[in-house]
Each structure stands twice: as C-alpha cells, then as structure tokens.
C-alpha cells in the first residue's frame, strides 16, 4: 500500500498565528533529522514585510499543510514587473522548504509546492539559488522551468590584494606560489591593469557625475519611463519601488543619482563589503554594483560612474551580475571580465513565453531582483 493513501489534502496558506504550533513541530522534526537551519519555518507569525503602508512590494511567508501538519513553506515576494509591455504583478519565489529534506517520503512536497505556486500565479520566477547542481534548481529543471545563469562580471581595482586573496583562483600550492610571485613582483598588477585598459572604452560624450542620495524622487520615474521599453521582463524600477527595494535603513547601500552635463541619465545602487575569509574572495574589500538603470545609450556612462564611486571607496574588486545585453555590453566596455556565475534565473509559466531566446535579449535581471541582495 502506498504510504500516503490516507494523507489529508495538501493546502498552501499564508502563515498566521494559528500555524505557529504546526511550524514549531515541523522545525522539531527538521532538527531531529539534522536539517540545516535554513530549512526551518519561522516560529512566530509576523505581518508581511513591506517598507511603508502603500509599498508596492510585499513579502509573505506561506506554509504548506497536510491536514493541520506543516510539511513545508515558502516566501513569496509580490512585485510589479514590466512584462511584455504591461505592468503585472509577478511572484518571486524565495526560501522554499520541504519536509522531504528530513524524510524522503515527503519528496512529493516540493513538487506539489512549486506546481501549486504556478497554478496560483503563472508569472513566477526565482533568482540566485547557488548553482545548477543544488537541489532547488535541479527540481525546477525537472519541473521544466527554464534555468539560465545571470552573467557574472568582475574588475580588479587592487591587483596585489586580488592576487593574494582570491581563493577561487588560488586553488593549489603551485597556483598560490605563482600568484604570490605575480603580486609581489608587480608583474601581475601590470598585466591586470593592461588587460582592463585594453578592454575599456570611454563612454561617448564624457563621464557622468554621481551624487549620493538617500531616497529616489521624481526623476527616477522619468528614467524608468525612458528605459522600460527596452526590456520584455524587468522589475518596475520607479521611485516608489526603488525606495521600497533600497530603504534608507540599509546603510551599507550607496544610491547614486547619475547626471551627464547636468541632465539626469540614470541611477546605480552599489554596496561595499569588507569580507573575512570568504570562500571565493578571501578578505578583500568587495564592491558590488547591485542595480542600475539608464536608457541603453547611457548604460556605459552609468557603469563607469558606479565604478568611479566604488574606486573612491578603495575597494579591491568590483563585481556585478547582469543579464541584459545592454548591460553586459556596458560592463565589458568598462573593462570588466566575465567569470563563472552562481546566480541563476529560473522562470516558468507565462514567463517562458518571453524566454524564447537568450536571457540577454529579454530580461534585465541583476542582484536587485528577488532576494539577490541578501547574500552580498
């Protein structure tokens, strides 16, 4: 007889105080099975995460129930997106949980959860996920979601520290010795600088000026209106959504209003992180270009201005993930090199209809999307 012949129907509900007991019992079972803490449900219900009463972006915790027993959960970020010429609400899937992690007989939970989400909202995607070999992206692939790497770009600002710290390339003794010699002799620095210089082209019409701002205002709406038609899929990046995505309380973020000859051309959001023993970047001071928007012909100006702002903060390395060809071209033009990406985009349902070609042709996805900023 199948194990679950007598199982109660599964249902997905927004997490509320009435689910707290079930959540605690779920966590106890996960704890007993030594599941990582990332796979636990919150034990107290809290209001949806927003930044203001009329915030256009909300995050809801859901719980998946079998009868009154919690078997899984997920966070859904509801957010307006520009989808094939219209503004639509799209769901971004974050932190899916399944009791299948602890007990294989609940292996049906994760597929049920993803099918149920897709049934409720055909405009749905997830970003990040680590790498295609992780369980969640493998599950999505099996469910015929479309998975694509969001290209990763980097630019070395301090070659000596880069060569000494970046563990991703210092993978064995011979390499460590080679990179140490390159760092201390100065030859590595010469080579890296020459490579960046060879690849860099100054944007036409001069450099943009960057002003640090606390909040986005009306000019951001103008930038959005001028830029949105270049994309078939892009999270709405107007004044109200940007202030929701990048609130003042996140003081590690630097928000930049970009102007060329006094005229607004766009904006960028950058972040600096002092790393300690990071698995890829050691103890570098890392600069990230989290998000940016400008009409396509100003994309190179926007990237260059973001780079200048981060260089002024004495970062050792600048990184970014960018999907759309407008931005990948602008980053290359600013001397960035590309490397292996662990930041994935997975789309399903009606979003697949847009994804008939490469992601670079239709979607503007970067670390500003979903919970991409969380791991920076």
């Amino acid at each position: 007889m199948p194990i679950n012949d007598t199982a109660a129907p599964m249902r997905l509900e927004r997490y509320a105080s009435l689910h707290e007991t079930a959540a605690r019992a779920f966590n106890q079972r996960m704890r007993t099975a030594h599941a990582p803490i990332d796979f636990f449900l919150p034990e107290e219900a809290s209001p949806p995460v927003t930044n203001g009463l009329d915030a256009p972006i909300t995050k809801h915790q859901y719980v998946l129930l079998e009868g009154e027993t919690a078997r899984g959960g997920v966070i859904i970020q509801e957010q307006p997106h520009w989808v094939a010429g219209e503004t639509r609400t799209v769901w971004n899937v974050q932190s899916p949980l399944s009791e299948g992690i602890a007990d294989r007989k609940y292996g049906f939970v994760a597929p049920f959860l993803m099918k149920e989400l897709l049934r409720r909202q055909p405009l749905i995607y997830s970003v990040g996920m680590g790498s295609a070999s992780m369980p969640f992206p493998r599950l999505l692939k099996a469910l015929r979601w479309r998975l694509t790497e969001v290209p990763f770009f980097f630019r070395v600002c301090n070659p000596r520290r880069f060569l000494r710290e970046v563990r991703a390339i210092r993978s064995n003794t011979a390499r460590r010795l080679l990179f140490d010699v390159a760092a201390f002799s100065g030859l590595g620095g010469l080579g890296i600088r020459a490579l960046h210089a060879l690849m860099s082209k100054s944007p036409a019409g001069g450099s943009a000026a960057a002003e640090q701002i606390n909040t986005f205002s009306g000019w951001a709406d103008d930038v959005w209106e001028r830029a949105k038609s270049d994309y078939r899929l892009c999270a709405v990046r107007n004044q109200s959504t940007l202030n929701c995505l990048y609130p003042t309380k996140l003081d590690r973020l630097m928000k930049l209003h970009l102007r060329l000859r006094g005229q607004t051309i766009g904006w960028a959001v950058v972040l600096t992180t002092r790393l300690q023993d990071h698995k890829y970047f050691g103890s570098l001071r890392l600069g990230t270009i989290v998000d940016c928007l400008a009409p396509p012909h100003y994309a190179p100006h926007a990237v260059q201005a973001a780079v200048s702002a981060l260089e002024d903060l004495a970062v050792d390395l600048i990184v970014s993930n960018q999907s759309h060809r407008t931005w990948t071209a602008a980053f290359k033009r600013s001397g960035f090199l590309s490397g292996p990406s662990n930041y994935l985009f997975a789309g399903a349902g009606k979003l697949l209809e847009l994804a008939t070609t490469s992601i670079g042709d239709f979607a503007h996805i970067n670390r500003g999307d979903g919970d991409g900023i969380v791991n920076l």
């Binding site: 007889m1 199948p2 194990i3 679950n4 012949d5 199982a7 129907p9 599964m10 079998e66 399944s98 299948g100 294989r104 007989k105 292996g107 049906f108 939970v109 994760a110 597929p111 049920f112 099918k115 149920e116 049934r119 369980p135 493998r138 599950l139 099996a142 469910l143 015929r144």
Partner: protein, 86 residues
Amino acid sequence: VTDSQRRLVQCFTAVFADLSEQQAAVATIDSVSDWDSIATVTLVSLIEEEFQIHIASDALAQLASFDAFYRYLEARSPANDLVAAR
C-alpha cells in the same frame, strides 16, 4: 503482465537505473534510496508523457509506489481497463 504495467516498469527503470524490472514492479519510496523529490518529478513527467495524461499535483502525495501509480493509471483509464489501451 499488462502492457501498461510493462510500460510503467520502463518508466521506473528509466528513472531508477539500478532497479531490475522485477524490483521496479514492487518499488516503493521506502525501498528505493534514490527516490527523492527530483525523482518524483522526473517519474511523473515520464509517466505523463508515456501515458499521455496529466497527473494533478493533488495526487502526488498518494503516488509513493509502483502499485500506487498503476492504480492511479487504472482509475484514469476510460474503460478502467488498461489492457485495452494496447
């Protein structure tokens, strides 16, 4: 062995390559160590394709053995006779 059972065995052995046909015919989620959520999805996709049906997500909790899949297919067959589908 009916034609549907034979086709179902093929689906199981395609997903769980280590199973013999005899083992596949009595497989349960407890007896097959590789049977996880990804295997569930792959198996369901393969069976949907092979039998030209759609398996509702509500049914997934019940589909934890070869026998359960077979009985599900049997119930979905218009004549309730999968042999007739040959």
